[in-house]
Amino acid sequence: MRALLRRAPLAASTLVVASAVAVAACSSSGSSSPSSSSSPGSGGSAKTGLKVFVIPKNLGNPYFTVADSKASGGALAALSALGDTGTETSGSAATSASQIPAIQAAVTKGANALVVSATDPTALCPTLNAAIKRKIPVVTYDSDAPGCRSLFINQASTSAIGTSEVDVLAKELNDTGQIAIVSAAASATNQNAWIGYMKTELKKYPKMSLVSTVYGNDDPATATQVTQGLLQQYPNLKGIISPTTVGILAAAGVLGTAKYRGKVLLTGLGTPNSMKKYVSDGTVKAFELWNPANLGYLAAYAAADLASGTLKVTPGATFTAGKLGSFTIGADSTVLLGPPTVFTSANISNFNF
């Protein structure tokens, strides 16, 4: 008891700090409402002066840098062209716990719209739904949070990605052989959805079989090791599909050696710049992707239109996204960017991302 009394000065000062903070909190007004210092745009086009926050899975991620940055023509470029203020923010670990504070801060700072690539399909829902309730439209891109957003911009139809990956490899393998998949994290929603379609498409090729799916966790070292393990476990492996840009690079690093090049074929999702070397030396004949910058650009346009009220989320509604042309809202409030692009040695030099 005496010891407690001795700590009275400390306890007192702590109480003072705590109560000062509480008083300050109670005295100021409640949460901010989205600022609307914008000028009305001409009929059908987005307002200027909107505050839009672009929240990728994490900062420091090269894929999202292309998707978001002004320099590459991504989301921030679109917002700047529209006369709106675009800010990119997120956490540094690609987890929901790391992304949520950034979303909350964006709302607190008076966001008119949010563009989010969801780290987790459900964990963000409470936060995103709270934003929607405050009339802040939420547009997800690249990675969806179904049920908790106004609109989802899908890079390409999930089934198209899954089936085309298998078709590309099948053509290279003459429809025969054992194949394996090097994926990202075991719980990655996108990859799992694509893999589902891959398995269905494989049924069309009875002489091909999927012997294993391994997970590289989007870490170059792990992806390299799981690929190596695959090669040891299945000496008759003929092909690998890696539907993740980190995974395909790691697998190419392993397969690009004299021992495997040309004997185990590789395809998947990769960016042209990073795969140039492997296409020119023959490790990879063809791979796919979409243009991440276009994805971000489209998502930003959609968000601005939603926030301005010039776009309503109804199936069949159309809108124009600047240089990308016009798009239609499809089922489940989803907009498709377009079909995936297949890169080969013939066209890879035309792209710079």
Binding site: L59, G60, N61, P62, F64, T65, V66, D68, S69, S92, A186, S212, V214, Y215, D219, P220, A221, T224, Q225, V226, Q228, G229, L230, L231, Q232, Q233, P235, V246, L249, A250, A252, G253, T257, K259, N273, S274, M275, K276, K277, Y278
Partner: protein, 349 residues
């Protein structure tokens, strides 16, 4: 076990000499123990899946292990002196990115310069750590935890959303990690030589042996006149420089470098060092043991992938084996203390 601990009786031999011989033998026993575990593990895995011992796979394991073995070398030097360096992962990441940039075709700097740059970056970080621990009197756990955050943060700031991809390098950079001589990767040979050099220095040179003294009894070391500040500072500087070199090798090995390189490596390195028989409170252990510990952990990793063990299990297995390793090590050291005590009782010293 006790039979091997008893030294040859030499009439008139001074007690210190024989206990040094005993200590040497103990070191060798600890290393022997880890090697034995490694051999048993490899044998069991190879019997289930013979391709585990294929030359390709051995090359894979050796190259992956060299980076951790290097980090383990640096960490051991620090841990022996009763400190810890948690910033090695972040230093590796920073060095990997900066040197990758230098080695890319836009700059096209020659290989030796790239390595020097890596050493320089790591050395700078190590020096900062060393200064704060020695001059600032701040516990190394706190200092290196803080620099872990700071260096990683600086790395993320510098890298931004960038990355260096294999296409950017001039070709010879990427082949460093792939060149082999008689089926053994060049990298493994070089790193083995470096580790042997490190072991020799720690065992033979005063500056090395004094680290053990500092770790096992700092008060006594101080009273004995050992320049503790200088030794500990050197240990951190070395750890940083080695992490810098490991970063260059990492970039060469994996090709793609972004801001996540080397993340959470520090705990894996400490685990390797502990498995390798280095006491976390300092004062004992060998770099060879730590390197073998790193090799063992990488081998386990590879074995799990080759055997196709469900990826759900490898974390748990890794954790379990680590605990097993330190429990065994503790039992061995208890036996050793008991037998040393018995010997002193017999000798009356």
């Amino acid at each position: 076990m006790t039979a091997t601990l008893a030294p040859r009786r030499e009439p008139g031999s001074p007690a210190p000499a024989s206990s040094r011989r005993l200590a040497d033998r103990v070191f060798r026993i600890r290393e022997f123990g880890i090697v034995a575990v490694l051999v048993v593990f490899v044998a069991v895995t190879a019997s289930i899946q013979s391709r585990f011992l294929s030359s390709t796979n051995i090359q894979f394991i050796l190259v992956d292990a060299t980076i951790f073995a290097l980090l383990a070398l640096g960490e051991t030097i620090v841990v022996i002196s009763r400190n810890v360096d948690l910033s090695v992962g972040s230093v590796l990441g920073l060095s990997a990115f900066l040197t990758a940039r230098l080695a890319s075709s836009t700059h096209g700097l020659p290989l030796p310069v790239v390595f020097l740059a890596g050493i320089g970056i790591g050395l700078l970080c190590g020096v900062v750590n060393g200064l704060m621990v020695t001059l600032g009197r701040v516990p190394s756990l706190v200092v290196t935890l803080a620099t872990l955050y700071i260096i990683r943060g600086a790395d993320v700031l510098i890298v931004g959303g960038g990355q260096v991809v294999p296409s950017s390098y001039y070709p010879s950079f990427l082949t460093i990690s792939k060149a082999t001589v008689g089926g053994i990767p060049d990298l493994a040979i070089v790193v083995a030589v470096v580790i042997a050099g490190g072991a020799y220095w720690l065992r033979t040179y005063r500056s090395g042996r004094e680290l053990y003294a500092i770790g096992s009894n700092p008060d006594a070391a101080r009273l004995a006149g050992i320049p503790m500040g200088r030794r500990v500072f050197t240990a951190f500087a070395l750890s940083g420089a080695i992490a810098g070199v490991a970063g260059v090798l990492w970039a060469s090995r994996y090709g793609t470098v972004d801001s996540t390189a080397g993340g959470s490596y520090e705990l894996q390195v400490v685990a390797a060092v502990v498995v390798g028989g280095v006491a976390i409170f300092g004062g004992s252990g060998s770099v060879v043991g730590a390197a073998i510990g790193a090799l063992l952990l990488q081998t386990i990793n590879s074995a799990l992938y080759v055997l196709g063990v469900s990826p759900n299990w490898d974390q748990a297995i890794a954790g379990f084996l680590l605990i097993l390793a330190i429990v065994l090590d503790r039992l061995i050291s208890l036996r050793l203390t008991a037998s040393l005590r018995r010997r002193s009782a017999r000798r009356g010293t």
